[in-house]
């Protein structure tokens, strides 16, 4: 019966080609525009590490004088001071925690084949890779000893390994960072995420770093931050040592806490830690303030999904509503004109439910066609987005989920729009039309 209805819908579409084309175009455009903004929204708001996003916590401490404000909603600075980052890192609990900071190097291979280039790098703890699910292809992270001794070791990603060594196992080979030799000890997979959630300082959708070095090198090589450094009071910072001892915020800190109990223990620890620091005269505070935010709370707190994007998604759904009102009107006209034919079918024994089903199948076919064309329009729209804003190039794509969502939304929307016309037409009384024939 379904096949028969499909056949009927196809015939019906072909009988009024102009109106059918108009309806399909309306849905396609509506879906195309909606899916363009929805895809970007979907990519922006996607959980970057779904299986442990509720176990990774970003640490914020308020180590400013009472009454000082910050640009955040709760007046907590985004980052930590060097003193605090080191104290938290050297504490026994939890097992996995790490500070990290964006820096960078000029890279060369001490040969004329590779032109020197500038590359961003992440200075971090050895736990970083395990915490953020960055798997090793070859080698492993640096050892505790290498970390303590600030050994010149480096982990690079596959993409860089491809560029410098043609993709072969380069563990044990040398690379020159700022004209000093480093040994490659590990190669990690390329990071397949869109949101740089572990460091939102310089834009949430920037590229991930390709080089990782032990954080202890920041001190021994006096590496400067490529991220943000913020102060809150006047400090005479002249040397790198001043910088390390200052109250400036420039380091991100993450902790992995697996259970609510662990989170409780860590909260208690941070509370004790902060009250202890307050007694050392670093800052004047009565109330202890800190925050542990998991990945999704952290993204939300940093407004990763932009306002413009929310406005666009809202507008495009209103736009879709207009398209629906449009096809509802057209469908109504089209179905009602067919009332005599329906009258005959009813007289020949078709039940109301069958007529209703037949018309719903017809609108679904419209929806499906519109949805498919809509995907095409959305691809065009996303291409436009990528052209306009290269920063969004990883975001302005449709994943499988969105590809399936497009026809689903189209069919759903058409069925909603078709309910009333189909209901109206199935109520046709056969007698009237038989009389006038």
């Amino acid at each position: 019966m379904f096949i028969h209805y499909l056949d009927l819908s196809w015939r019906s579409l072909r009988r009024t080609p102009l109106i059918s084309a108009l309806m399909i175009a309306a849905i396609a455009v509506g879906i195309g525009i909606t899916m363009t903004s929805l895809s970007v929204y979907h990519m922006m708001s996607m959980d970057p590490i779904p299986h442990k996003s509720d176990r990774l916590f970003h640490v914020q401490l308020n180590t400013m004088d009472e009454g000082r404000t910050w640009t955040t909603e709760d007046n907590l600075p985004y980052q930590l001071t060097y003193t605090d980052a080191m104290n938290l890192y050297n504490a026994d609990f939890p097992e996995r925690k790490t500070m990290s900071m964006r820096t960078g190097f000029s890279v060369h291979m001490n040969s004329s084949e590779v032109k020197p280039f500038l590359e961003g790098a992440r200075a971090t703890g050895r736990e970083f890779f395990a915490m953020f699910d960055l798997d090793f292809v070859h080698g492993a992270s640096w050892t505790e000893n290498q970390q303590i001794n600030a050994s010149p070791v480096v982990v690079i990603n596959q993409e860089l390994n491809e560029r410098l060594f043609g993709g072969e196992n380069s563990v044990g080979r040398q690379i020159y960072l700022d004209d000093e030799s480093y040994e490659i000890i590990g190669i990690v997979k390329n990071w397949e995420i869109h949101t740089k959630y572990y460091d939102l300082n310089n834009g949430a959708f920037n590229r991930m770093e390709k080089i990782f070095v032990p954080f202890s090198l920041v001190v021994s090589k006096e590496l400067s931050s490529w991220g943000n450094t913020n102060g809150w009071k006047f400090e005479d910072v002249r040397t790198f040592q001043d910088h390390l001892q200052s109250e400036q915020f420039w380091i991100q800190f993450w902790a992995e806490l697996d259970t609510p109990e662990e989170q409780q223990i860590y909260s208690d620890y941070l509370r004790t830690y902060l009250s202890e620091q307050a007694t050392k005269g670093r800052f004047e505070r009565e109330t202890v303030q800190f925050a542990l935010r998991n990945v999704n709370q952290w993204l939300e707190y940093n407004n990763v999904v932009t306002e413009d994007n929310r406005v666009l998604v809202g507008l495009s759904f209103m736009f879709l509503t207009v398209c629906l009102a449009n096809i509802l009107g057209l469908m109504l006209g089209k179905f009602l004109r067919r009332a005599p034919e329906v009258g005959v079918r009813r007289a020949l024994g078709a039940s109301k439910r069958q007529i209703f089903a037949q018309h719903l199948v017809e609108v679904s076919v419209l929806g499906l066609l519109g949805g498919l064309f809509g995907i095409g329009i959305a691809q065009l729209g996303l291409w436009g987005v990528r052209q306009t804003y290269s920063y969004y190039s990883a975001l302005a794509t449709m994943d499988t989920y969105m590809l399936l969502a497009a026809p689903a939304i189209a069919i759903g929307a058409c069925v909603i729009a078709g309910l009333y016309p189909a209901w109206l037409v199935c109520r046709t009384t056969p007698a009237i039309y038989l009389k006038t024939q």
Binding site: I19, A26, I33, D179, F234, L315, M318, F319, L332, G381
Partner: protein, 404 residues
């Protein structure tokens, strides 16, 4: 005269179709007026004067990793090399490039900061270090005072000796010395005093979107660092050619360095504003298509109504109605729906504007936009009804008699 009553009665018999049209027009009005307003707002922002001849300027950074060079001389040599390139007007060492979205800001006061804080007026402004060529290279004009003297530019590896003069934008000067006597006065960056020696009428800082976009200072200092940013001004027509030879020319001079971030100033600005340009384009596409869809909807519905009423129209024609009467009938019918839709849509637009204002940092909707949009939608709806209505007017009176 306009036969509103019979038309209204006829409409009541196909309520839903009319109602759908009304909804479409209402939503269209609401969206288009708000979107048009956002578009206007962004356009104003994107087209504002920055003070710089953006298409003549480009910038890049030199990262020196070789350790055998005297960095406090190298930037001078680089500048000379650049000035010798054909087409180059001037070149300067600069710490932060305006309009690029990356820079430094601080509060400046009329008193120094001490351990106890600062007394008196404080104004936040972006600033950059640069040498005596920065003003000319950026293409901005000093309207009062003078440029830096060469010996006022401090070239140093640390910040033990700091400069004691600066050139500021007019807008910053008006804010920190509101009485208009700022030129020659002293301002403090932290505890470092600087005399204002020159004023530039307009030069935007690194962040166009910031509230302090107009507050910008140039401080004569060059940090002899292994990372040195350069800014170059050329003839607009020759910029691309000059940019192409930068890397080779500079590496030929000394090759233990990397040239990064070679970019025109207009391109940097476009990158910083890319999200606004994107929003602008999306909204333009959205409202264009929306108006088109609504027009097609009106067109389609009128075609249907005409088909449904072919016989009725024939009868009216047979009874003596003129062609213009038929056209008028459809126009009046459409206008009635349209005006109702526009009324509802205008109210919705105002509410939507308020919601956007409350939820997001968008400016308050200018009600003129609602009025103009309503008028525009009305004209579009009339136009889209005209074609089918004219076709209806051609229905011959014989149709009415033939089919009975």
């Amino acid at each position: 005269m306009l036969e509103i009553k019979p038309i209204f009665n006829a409409m009541r018999r196909s309520k839903v179709g009319a109602f759908m049209l009304l909804i479409q027009i209402a939503i269209t009005t609401a969206i288009v007026s708000n979107a048009a307003f956002i578009i206007y707002d962004r356009l104003q922002y994107l087209q504002q004067e920055t003070g710089y001849p953006e298409d003549e300027i480009f910038h890049f950074a030199v990262l020196t990793f070789g350790k055998d060079r005297n960095l406090s001389q190298q930037f001078e040599e680089t500048e000379t090399t650049l000035r010798n390139l054909p087409g180059v007007i001037n070149a300067a060492a600069i710490q932060e490039v305006p309009l690029s979205g990356s820079g430094s800001a601080s509060s400046f006061g009329i008193n120094p900061t001490t351990e106890q804080g600062r007394e008196g007026l404080e104004v936040t402004a972006a600033y950059t270090f640069g040498d005596e060529h920065a003003i000319d290279t950026l293409g901005v004009k000093i309207i009062a005072g003078r440029n830096f003297e060469q010996d006022e530019v401090i070239v140093a590896e640390n910040n033990d000796v700091m400069p004691n003069v600066s050139i500021v934008s007019q807008s910053f000067l008006d804010e920190i010395y509101p009485n208009g006597d700022g030129l020659g006065q002293t301002i403090y960056l932290g505890d470092m005093p600087m005399t204002i020696v020159g004023v530039v009428d307009k030069m935007k800082g690194p962040w166009l979107r910031a509230s302090i976009a107009d507050n910008f200072l140039i401080i004569p200092f060059v940090s002899a660092d292994n990372f040195q940013r350069m800014v170059v001004r050329t003839e607009a027509s020759q910029r691309a050619a000059v940019m192409r030879q930068i890397e080779d020319t500079l590496l030929a001079e000394y090759d233990k360095r990397v040239i990064v971030g070679l970019q025109g100033l207009d391109e940097s600005k476009r990158e910083y504003n890319a999200s606004d340009i994107l929003m602008l384009r999306m909204l333009v596409v959205l409202i264009t298509v929306l108006v088109l869809i609504t027009a097609l909807g009106i067109f389609g519905l009128t075609v249907f109504n005409i088909n449904k009423r072919t016989r009725q129209i024939g009868t009216r024609r047979a009874l003596g109605a003129r062609k213009s009467d038929i056209v008028r009938y459809f126009i009046v019918e459409n206008s009635m729906i349209c005006i109702a839709g526009l009324l509802i849509g205008s109210i919705a637009a105002v509410y939507m504007g308020q919601a956007l204002l409350e939820l997001y940092s968008l400016p308050a909707l200018d009600h003129n936009y609602v009025a103009i949009t309503a008028a525009f939608v009305f004209v579009v709806s009339i136009l889209s009804v005209l074609i089918p209505a004219n076709r209806a007017a051609k229905i011959s009176p014989s149709v009415a008699t033939r089919s009975i």
